[in-house]
């Protein structure tokens, strides 16, 4: 997210040659990066936690995040509760475990949606150019012309009940333009490559040229940015939830935990530490994976 568009676009260079060989090369380089394994391991654990939270929540004797005892409000870590309890007397560990799913769902769903729209729009604009390209350029200009967070604030304000899906939809609405621009740039650099011209000369239909030759070679840098974007979306979701615009109370999420803990930060800071640290680690793992992928998928970085 922090990388400027120009630099990301500069990284877009078509790989020539046969796709499977290139893919093998990518894997061989990736395999040797320790950072890739660290990020992948962290993300695997998080994915497991998100899929089967109940397997992890009970490790310290309090498996149910909603089994709260008001008499045990804001207990410091230690004793029966390894990370303490929050104001409502709920176990912080169990809540952090169950909150993983909300963050990952929003991050992945939003990125998948934005990527899907961006792939269609960006490919059409980049491959065919012309009027469509100009319309898309103007449209992305408008969306990229103002801060993402302010737009999301305005739209979410008018949505009454919010679930992980609605939040992901709204965030996708504001994040597809970045991806679309990237796909367009990526497709444009590949469009006039000799092997695409060869495919065209052979009389293949556009659909086949795009699916077989253009997309596979244009996709790499886009996927790297998409990985980084998952991290950015998770931050955006928790920030909006913290402001009071993301997920609502019955849901369990890190953003909500942090939001309610904030009022008591002077007396019980332990309620902030666990969700804050886990949130940061998740985002860090996503961004690191995205960085490693970008390094590897950029052929100039592979030599």
């Amino acid at each position: 997210m922090s990388e400027p568009l120009t630099e990301s676009l500069a990284a877009v260079t078509p790989t020539d040659g046969v796709a499977p060989a290139a893919r093998r090369g990518v894997w061989r380089t990736l395999r040797r990066r320790p950072l890739f394994w660290v990020a992948a391991a962290v993300l695997t654990v998080l994915a497991l936690v998100a899929l089967v939270p109940s397997a992890f929540a009970g490790w310290f004797g309090h498996p149910d995040p909603r089994a709260c005892d008001l008499a045990a409000s804001a207990l410091p870590p230690g004793g029966g509760h390894v990370l303490g309890t929050d104001v409502q007397g709920c176990d912080v560990w169990a809540n952090v475990v169950f909150g993983t799913r909300a963050s990952l769902t929003v991050g992945l769903l939003c990125t998948a949606l934005a990527l899907a729209v961006a792939l269609v729009v960006g490919t059409l604009a980049g491959y065919y150019g012309g009027f469509l390209d100009r319309v898309v350029a103007r449209l992305t200009d408008v969306f990229l012309g103002f801060p993402f967070l302010l737009g999301a604030v305005v739209v979410l304000t008018s949505v009454g009940t919010r679930s992980a899906v609605t939040v992901a939809l709204v965030l996708a609405l504001f994040s597809w333009p970045t991806m679309a621009r990237l796909v367009r740039g990526s497709v444009r650099t590949v469009r006039d490559a000799p092997y695409v011209e060869a495919a065209r000369a052979m009389g293949l239909p556009d659909r086949r040229i795009i699916a077989r030759y253009v997309l596979p070679n244009a996709l790499g840098p886009v996927l790297a940015v998409a990985t980084t974007m998952v991290g950015g979306v998770i931050v955006a979701e928790s920030t909006l939830t913290f402001l009071g615009l993301g997920l609502n109370a019955p849901s369990i999420s890190w953003g909500l935990q942090l939001s309610s803990a904030q009022s008591f930060f002077q007396t019980s800071p332990h309620m902030l530490v666990a969700p804050g640290v886990v949130l940061t680690i998740t985002v860090l793992a996503m961004i690191t994976l995205g960085d490693v992928l970008r390094d590897v998928l950029d052929p100039r970085g592979r030599s």
Partner: protein, 308 residues
């Protein structure tokens, strides 16, 4: 140059119309009734609802409402809150706080970001370079509100190095900590961008020529490398000044600074649609104008853009 300015102004108008229309359409096309929310838990009488709808022009077609709003905007009218105050009046006294905060953050970003990026770029591949790069990745991963609350707790409450909240102690004391918190994210980007830019510039022929003619290294770096590397960084900094304004929402809320961001923060909690739209629009206008200004500034610095 004149053509460039005109083109940028046309772009600005298009983006502005697009942004306000998108926001307006989405606010009105989605379910949720602000008038019903006014009554709290008790439903309002139908005639009261009708009266309020008419007063706030909610009974007109959306497009007409939008045009009315745009017309008002051009006269400096950002709308009226449900309490009957003008949004422009409510924000007027708050702008100095927000602008001071954003500019302080920006200053931190420029100074530290450029310095760290320069150090990393000049020593590319060394331990200090790697440390700075790793630091920037970690910095971008910490959400602003987590950082804000942690800084408030550790540096404000525990160590008492900075005031915990409010603007009582004036500039710079009261602004340093919140500004630093907002600056962290952009600072990391500036440092990375500057590093890349410096590394690229050091490889160019003109730097080799400068060195070959015996120019002192301090001058090569201080004047020529700095100026040439500054352009992408400057463009980023321009856009980021706008994002800093957006970041003030969270930080002013947490540190209780009476700025525009705090107003938006409170309006969000109170579900005050008109205030949210008004304040957001104001922030977006400031964002667009800043972009225009620095884009033109960049063309003064970079002859390639000027003679395009």
């Amino acid at each position: 140059m004149t053509r460039r300015v005109t083109r940028r102004l046309v772009d600005l108008v298009v983006v502005f119309l697009g942004v306000t229309l998108i926001i307006y359409l989405m606010v009105f096309a989605l379910p949720g009734d602000p008038i019903a929310a006014l009554g709290g838990d008790r439903p309002l009488a139908p005639n009261v609802v009708a009266e309020l709808r008419e007063r706030y022009h909610l009974d007109e077609p959306v497009l007409q409402q939008y045009l009315r709003y745009l017309g008002g905007l051009l006269q400096g009218d950002l709308g009226t809150t449900f309490q009957g105050q003008s949004v422009a009046d409510r924000t007027a006294l708050r702008w100095p706080v927000t602008i001071t905060l954003a500019l302080t953050a920006w200053g931190i970003e420029v100074l530290l970001g450029v310095l760290l990026g320069l150090v990393a770029g000049l020593r590319a591949g060394t331990v200090s370079d790697r440390l700075i790069l790793a630091g920037t990745v970690v910095a971008t991963s910490i959400p602003v509100f987590v950082l804000a609350v942690s800084a408030q707790l550790w540096l404000g409450v525990r160590l008492s190095w900075f005031p915990v909240a409010g603007t009582g102690e004036g500039w710079p004391t009261a602004y340093l900590l919140p500004a630093a918190v907002i600056a962290v994210f952009g600072l990391a980007s500036v440092a990375r961008l500057m590093r890349g830019s410096v590394v690229d510039t050091l490889r160019t022929d003109f730097v080799r020529a400068l060195r070959a003619k015996g120019l002192r290294e301090r001058q090569v770096v201080g004047v020529h490398v700095m100026r040439s590397s500054a352009i992408p960084v400057l463009t980023f900094l321009a856009i980021d000044l706008g994002y800093l304004l957006g970041g003030t929402v969270v930080v002013e809320g947490v540190f209780n600074l009476p700025g525009v961001g705090q107003l938006l923060f409170q309006a969000i909690r109170a579900h005050e649609g008109p205030t949210i739209v008004g304040v957001s629009t104001a922030l977006i206008i400031v964002f667009l104008l800043t972009n225009l200004l620095v884009d033109l500034l960049a063309s003064v610095l970079d002859p390639r853009i000027r003679h395009e």
